[in-house]
């Protein structure tokens, strides 16, 4: 089986703005500060009426962060977090700038999620009386996967293609690939990409049913890891064709399928290797040019061992690779954008995060797997995001 389908190199795209809001706080600096201080965002599960015994990455204050009246039709926890994330780090100003440069219909919205607003649908079922949905939840637009894309369109006024990608935990990494293609093919000149996922019963009790939730804070790649911590997050980035002025760039993407199992990774990491190989080929760089790799690293026994072996097969000893899920929890459909933001912070600040909570490396871990933070200037950073269905995406970011 080939390790790459040898796609042609792409023209790198400018990243005009980027942001994330997670359990670590609101906006880029809150993320960078918590990564540098090795301060976790996880807390004992206090979500819902009957919480499971686990730890979660919860964003504070959403309960008090109602949407502006003009957007009230989109009310739900997920769209509240989307709105909050859109307000950080000059993101809306960057959207306005590309809209002014190109026109609203020349800017796409491509956003990822795993559950979108299903928390609102869960609430509709829980509060239904005599099989009637409560009046305040009779809003069909929030009871469908595209609720997030529809909301972001309403919130930004952009009028190009608006798409919600839902490939489970690879969702908001794949949005970079789809947006890059839309720009490369000349359909649009810029794109707002990102993703949002919020805590809800479906994911907490769903992952619990699969036996994948830990009773402790997640310990990625630790010998004794026993499952994941779930989190919620939102993040966005503005991509535009590069006129030579970009300081941060999307250089390559790779997507693949495991062709193996709905909820277990391919035992040899086949899909992961294909995705990483294609991302490097599109970026036209060699593996040893990657300075930091943010791993999918969920802290489940199967995922981490497979990913560690795939990394060891592809990269040399010098790579600094880590999972940041001990900081934020696994933010599912938002993991792609959150961890892309961490990769961009690594490029801008030279801050290479280690792996929180983990003590003794699994024997599958190669020398690339780092538990301690490092400070070093790097030129390229990579992010891996893998999802149910064996759906994989790798992204390469660079400093100009």
């Amino acid at each position: 089986m080939p390790l790459s389908t040898d796609p042609a190199p792409i023209e790198a795209l400018a990243i005009r703005a980027y942001t994330a809001t997670t359990a670590l706080g609101r906006g880029r600096q809150a993320q960078a500060d918590a990564l540098a201080a090795r301060r976790a965002g996880l807390r004992r599960n206090d979500f819902g009426a009957d919480p499971l015994d686990t730890w979660i990455g919860r964003v504070d204050g959403l309960e008090d962060a109602a949407l502006p009246p003009a957007l009230a039709a989109w009310e739900c926890r997920n769209n509240r977090l989307a709105w909050l994330a859109l307000q950080q780090d000059g993101l809306m100003a960057a959207v306005e700038a590309v809209r002014t440069r190109h026109g609203a219909d020349r800017v796409a919205i491509v956003i990822g999620t795993s559950t979108s607003s299903i928390g609102a649908t869960e609430e509709a079922y829980a509060r239904a009386v005599d099989s009637v949905v409560p009046a305040d939840l009779q809003r069909p637009a929030v009871h469908q996967p595209h609720s997030l894309g529809g909301f972001v369109q309403a919130a930004t006024g952009l009028a190009g293609p608006s798409i919600t990608v839902a490939t489970a935990c690879s969702s908001s990494a794949k949005v970079f690939a789809q947006a890059a293609r839309l720009i490369q093919a000349g359909i649009v000149d810029a794109a707002l990409v990102g993703g949002v996922d919020t805590l809800c019963g479906s994911v907490l009790f769903g992952f619990n049913s699969l036996g994948l939730v830990s009773a402790q804070p997640a310990r990625p790649f630790d010998r004794d890891r026993d499952g994941l911590s779930l989190g919620e997050a939102g993040g966005f980035a503005v991509l535009e064709r590069d006129d030579g002025s970009a300081t941060l760039r999307l250089c390559g993407y790779g997507e693949s399928s495991d062709a193996h199992h709905m909820s277990a990774p391919h035992p040899e990491g086949l899909g992961a290797r294909l995705a990483m190989g294609d991302a490097l080929a599109r970026a036209a760089i060699a593996p040893d040019q990657v300075g930091y790799l943010n791993l999918h690293g969920t802290a489940t026994p199967a995922n981490d061992a497979v990913e560690a072996r795939a990394i060891d097969a592809l990269f040399g000893d010098g790579l600094h690779a880590s999972s940041t899920k001990g900081w934020t929890g696994h933010t599912l459909g938002a993991a792609g954008i959150v961890e892309s933001v961490f990769a961009l912070i690594a490029l801008e600040d030279g801050l290479l995060p280690g792996t929180l909570n983990s003590q003794v490396p699994d024997t599958a871990c190669g020398p690339q797997l780092r538990f301690d933070n490092a400070q070093r200037r790097i030129d390229y950073a990579m992010n891996n995001s893998f999802g149910f269905g064996g759906n994989n995406c790798s992204l390469v970011f660079g400093r100009a």
Binding site: D105, E122, V133, S162, V165, A185, S257, S263, G389
Partner: protein, 263 residues
Amino acid sequence: MNPLDARIAGIGFWASGLPSWEAAQAFVADGRLPDAAPRRPSPELLAPNERRRAPESVAVALEVALAATRAAGHDPTTLASIFTSGHGDFAITGYMCETLADDPRAISPIRFHNSVHNAAAGYWTIGAGCTATTTAISAGPATFAQGLLEALVQLATGTPAVLLVAYDVESSGLLGTLTPSRGLLGGALVLTRADAGDGPLLRASLRTGAGAPPEGPLALRLRDNAMAPMLPLFDALAAGAGRVLLDAGAAQALEVEVEGMHV
């Protein structure tokens, strides 16, 4: 924008009452309906026990995906794919929400992993042994148009062939009161680069304006399914040629022209 184009290498179709592309073509030609249509598809890609247990959304998506791939004579193991559905599987979403309200610790792990929007895409790549990229997208009423656009954009950026699958199923329960959707409907196209192959030519471009109201036989007969916005194109394909305006969201429509079908 410059128009995007592709060759149509294969078509798959399955709707309640019209359980194949041949049946759909016959219906468009002279209003004929099959005497006895199966209630749900039975996709050969799945093992017999999985076939019975598969959610309806997965069953209809895999049925049309396999039909289109076979019609194209294309090796599915290297075929990129795009799965589009406005709502995924209403029944599983309803099951998750009902169980969470009643007894959250009783959720079935299989139903949970089948609840992801990319369940059909996952079963397809696993069943077909396909390691190429696949995605699962939605865009409200513009879901099909955005899926077709992504397929054409993949071809324009170097992918040699793409499988596009569109489906939505019947809604029920509380979700059904919010979003009515009737019957099962699925459509699939295998598209190849316009400079390769000799299938009929499809040309598309985004333009300002709304989609056109449905008026073909398939669009009128199956208008109550949430994936009905795809039907004007399948009416044109069955008729052998035509130009349609598909709702592409916001204030845009995807204008699609088909020429050279031999029906």
